[in-house]
Amino acid sequence: MLARPMESRVHRLLRCRDLGGGSFALEVDGPIPPTAPGQFYMLRTEHRWPVQLPRPFSLYDRAPDGSWGSFLVKPVGEGTRALCSLSPGDGVVLNGPLGQPFPRDVADPVCVAGGVGLAPFLLLAREAKAKGAPVRLLFGGRNRAALAGLEDLEPLARVHTSTDDGSHGFRGMVTGLLEDMLQKGEVRAGDVVFCCGPDPMMHAVAKLCEKLGLRCFLSLETYMACGYGVCNGCSVRVQGARFKGWPYSKTCMEGPVYESCELVN
């Protein structure tokens, strides 16, 4: 468990940056505590939150001094719509940082993102770039518009895109792109895959990695009530030594990142 400070604090919205494709980067003022790639925060609006439970979001970006941070939000329901219709100066309540990040000891991971699953990879790409070893990022979407945030990542990582309609990069699914890169030698045996995206995509990536013999870590998006380990509502079925025979794991505490072989079904 990371010994990082968790806190609940009201932040001010600095701006809601339109990333295209219906997604926004919600930028809030600091202090944003040090947060590792893959960790998340529970968010809600300070006033007029239209639903009961806060919503979990990976931290998208953070100023090195913590003076601001941002979250990748796509308005799909009442809660996300409320967040995206805030005006600068409005309050956003953040609880976090929460959860366990992607493994910190993987030197050159192959990052695979789908849609707003891009979120945890910006911080990771920024860290790697600072060390002079930019990561490979495979970013897939239905079409060009679905690749929201691409411009943010391009300066930071070796980005390869895929679109179902071929409007940007590789034509096809991101799994096809991964196989293609393997054939070209841009992904090699022994590489470790970090993946975040819609469930069907993560299933497909995990399955492919299993076939190719690559280790694969998935950042799950699970329905959560609390985010800090008290509701037991976000449990997923797991297997493996670290769970000591317990069949369920709380995504908010032991996740949201799991190695694919730990997840049952």
Binding site: P5, L53, N95, C226, V230, N232, G233, V236, R237, Y248
Partner: protein
């Protein structure tokens, strides 16, 4: 002003966590100073570990949520060794919140075992979960049956050396009959209410959303139901009532107190705001000071004749007779 008592148990204020909504308190300790709460009620502990129900386990609903956790917990041995010491740390040697352990049994024998072990472990009180809707397993819930309620409470009381509160289900025809049975069994207090059984359906999949099909409804949606039940129970029994159901603010707390609650638990709202209990404590102090009253004075006030409005002048008494 904020002090309250539950039988022999003194609380620095009437705000407790509701079982199953704040873990042991330890998980959320970094968010606020829990030393300022009235009490921490543990998630239900069972004799043996329970894995809980298959996911999905929660679903948000208008003004509330459904849960079907199924009492997932690592059992009494683990709790006594690992969790209770942490709760005692939060209790700050009795200077802070009271430690209440919620116990769940599938039989009277299990309740007795748990009551013996936790009494001996030096907790402040026991809350007997007679009412979890998520673990029925074909058997009748204790708290839907007055006779079983009375038997279970009596058996627990026989071995318990600390106050015993009975947590009741709202899923009954007349909750006052069950409350009366718990009182007859010797309960030191009644906690009301547990969740209302509900369901959510995904019509596109033609299936219930929750893994187990049904779940317990909590949150603001159930507050009016809880208030009515606390009101009716308080009128029926002589033992103290702990109100719970949809509390989000100091005003909600004071409504429960007026209905007859001596203490109030904050549940689902702790998921949304882990600092809420201490914020409510602060707000309560302000509200009571502004109204010039106390928890003690307000408790059960809806059951008494309406007092004259503050500042209203009594006729024929002239100036200076305002009350």
């Amino acid at each position: 002003m904020l002090q309250t008592t539950l039988g022999s148990l003194r609380l620095q204020n009437p705000i407790l966590s509701a079982s199953g909504t704040f873990g042991s308190g330890w998980e959320g300790r970094q968010f606020s100073d829990l030393g300022r709460t009235g009490g921490l009620v543990s998630k239900t502990v069972t004799v043996l570990p329970r894995h809980g129900n298959p996911p999905p386990r929660i679903q948000e609903t208008p003004a509330g949520m459904l849960n079907s956790i199924g009492l997932e917990n690592k059992g009494a041995d683990w709790f006594l060794a690992d969790t209770l010491p942490k709760m005692k740390q939060l209790a700050a040697g009795g200077a802070g919140p009271r430690i209440v352990i919620n116990i769940g049994g599938e039989s009277i024998d299990e309740f007795v075992q748990l009551a013996e072990r936790f009494s001996a472990a030096g907790v402040d009180a026991l809350e007997v979960n007679l009412s979890c809707p998520n673990v029925q397993e074909g058997r009748l819930l204790f708290s839907t049956e007055p006779r079983l309620t009375e038997q279970a409470v009596r058996a627990v009381k026989r071995v318990a050396t600390v106050p015993v509160f009975a947590k009741l289900s709202p899923n009954v025809t007349d909750v006052t009959v069950i409350a009366k049975a718990a009182e007859q069994g010797g309960a030191d207090g009644i906690t009301a209410i547990n969740t209302l059984i509900g369901m959510a359906i995904d019509w596109r999949k033609r299936r219930p959303i929750l893994g187990r099909g049904i779940g317990g409804l909590s949150g603001p949606a159930i507050k009016p139901v809880a208030l009515r039940m606390v009101h009716d129970i308080a009128r029926t029994v002589r033992i103290p009532v702990i109100g719970v159901g949809g509390v989000r603010s100091a005003d909600d707390v004071l409504e429960f107190v007026c209905a007859g609650a001596r203490a109030v638990q904050v549940g689902t709202a702790m998921f949304t705001d882990p600092t809420l209990m201490v914020r409510i404590v602060d707000d309560l102090r302000e509200r009571l000071a502004a109204a010039g009253t106390t928890i003690d004075e307000l408790c059960g006030s809806v059951h008494r004749p309406v007092p004259p409005a503050p500042g209203a002048c009594q006729p024929d008494q002239g100036r200076g007779a305002c009350v």
